[in-house]
Symmetry: C2
Subunit: 208 residues, 2 copies
């Protein structure tokens, strides 16, 4: 840990790492203190309790993730460009932060109320996001489709392979090197898959 940082930041950096990997109940205050290179009791001096520290980390992480997920879709581009950039960006981002999506999902599974406090003071505007996608589906591709389903499809195609990595890798006995290739391939495959699917609606119109 860098000594130039102040103690509070060192604690937060360490707490992030440990909580992201092990969750609330799996994390140990001692481990966080060791990783931060400080004394255990300082954790309480700065953040009062384990729970308080966890909520701090969760809020931070969720905001970061939510912003990353929306900013691309709110920019000025065609929908297909957005999808291409999002998928690409996301696989890159995730490879350096492989635990954080699952961390957020688990934290919310454990206690859904956590999101309430965060969502309000956030520049996450879900309605605008969906409305933007709906408009682009209509104007650029002539499709009247529920944008939520499309958005969830995109997320599923990107996020699932990342959080299920150990599952996929063990079941199909894929070595690390081939797994890296697999993710690299998905940067092209996923946008193509989505584009094909959406184009399919244009010819065959039997949709919700």
């Amino acid at each position: 840990m860098d000594n130039s940082q102040n103690t509070e930041d060192k604690i937060l950096a360490a707490a992030r790492e440990v909580f992201h990997k092990k969750g609330l109940s799996g994390a140990r205050m001692q481990e966080i203190a060791d990783l931060a290179g400080i004394n255990k009791s300082l954790l309480h001096y700065y953040f009062r309790s384990k729970d308080a520290l966890f909520e701090k980390v969760f809020t931070e992480t969720f905001s970061q993730l939510a912003n990353k997920m929306t900013e691309i879709f709110l920019s000025e581009m065609t929908l297909m460009s957005k999808i291409g950039i999002f998928v690409n960006f996301y696989f890159n981002f995730i490879s350096g932060h492989s635990y954080i999506v699952q961390f957020v999902i688990n934290a919310l599974q454990d206690k859904p109320e956590r999101i309430r406090e965060v969502i309000l003071k956030q520049n996450v505007t879900p309605e605008i996001l969906l409305e933007t996608i709906r408009k682009q589906l209509k104007e650029e591709m002539g499709l009247d489709i529920d944008p939520l389903h499309i958005y969830v499809n995109i997320l599923g195609l990107v996020i699932f392979p990342v959080i299920a990595r150990p599952l996929i890798q063990s079941i199909f006995a894929i070595p690390d090197e081939r797994m890296a290739v697999f993710y690299e391939q998905r940067k092209k495959i996923v946008p193509t898959f989505i584009e094909n699917a959406l184009k399919g609606y244009e010819t065959d119109r039997t949709m919700v």
Copy 2:
């Protein structure tokens, strides 16, 4: 808890429920004992330790899930029929067991070796599964596509919306009733989405 069951089964049923929801570190032996309606020390009498009990539950659950995932794809049907049935079946199954996929993913994230012991003595045959899908893609749709990507796509479109339910529901402020509708819709939307995507490859052939 039903008193007609023997103690071992009562414990296993309770352990399943608690571990599925809270994971290894989040679960309490006392909670399992209470739910089973028996004394805490009996847990150790029957299963020696918390870890041993957890591994037992994990093995059981993983096998069940793996079998459910493969049996449909190894049956005798067209690929598109399989996909339709799989998606339908899966959303139904999951609604009654909403925690188990995430339980498995978390357990493997936490300790990937867990799978080794299980996978061997299993009638899960991943190579055969992929080979079957590859053959059907080729013969029924004329596609030379890596079947792993397609399989992962299917799983992602089905599993992600289920495990990310609290995330999706809170972000987009979706009430429970509308969420039930959302899953109901996906039974049709997902197979259509996949079919469209695959058909897209037939005309535009620029694939890995």
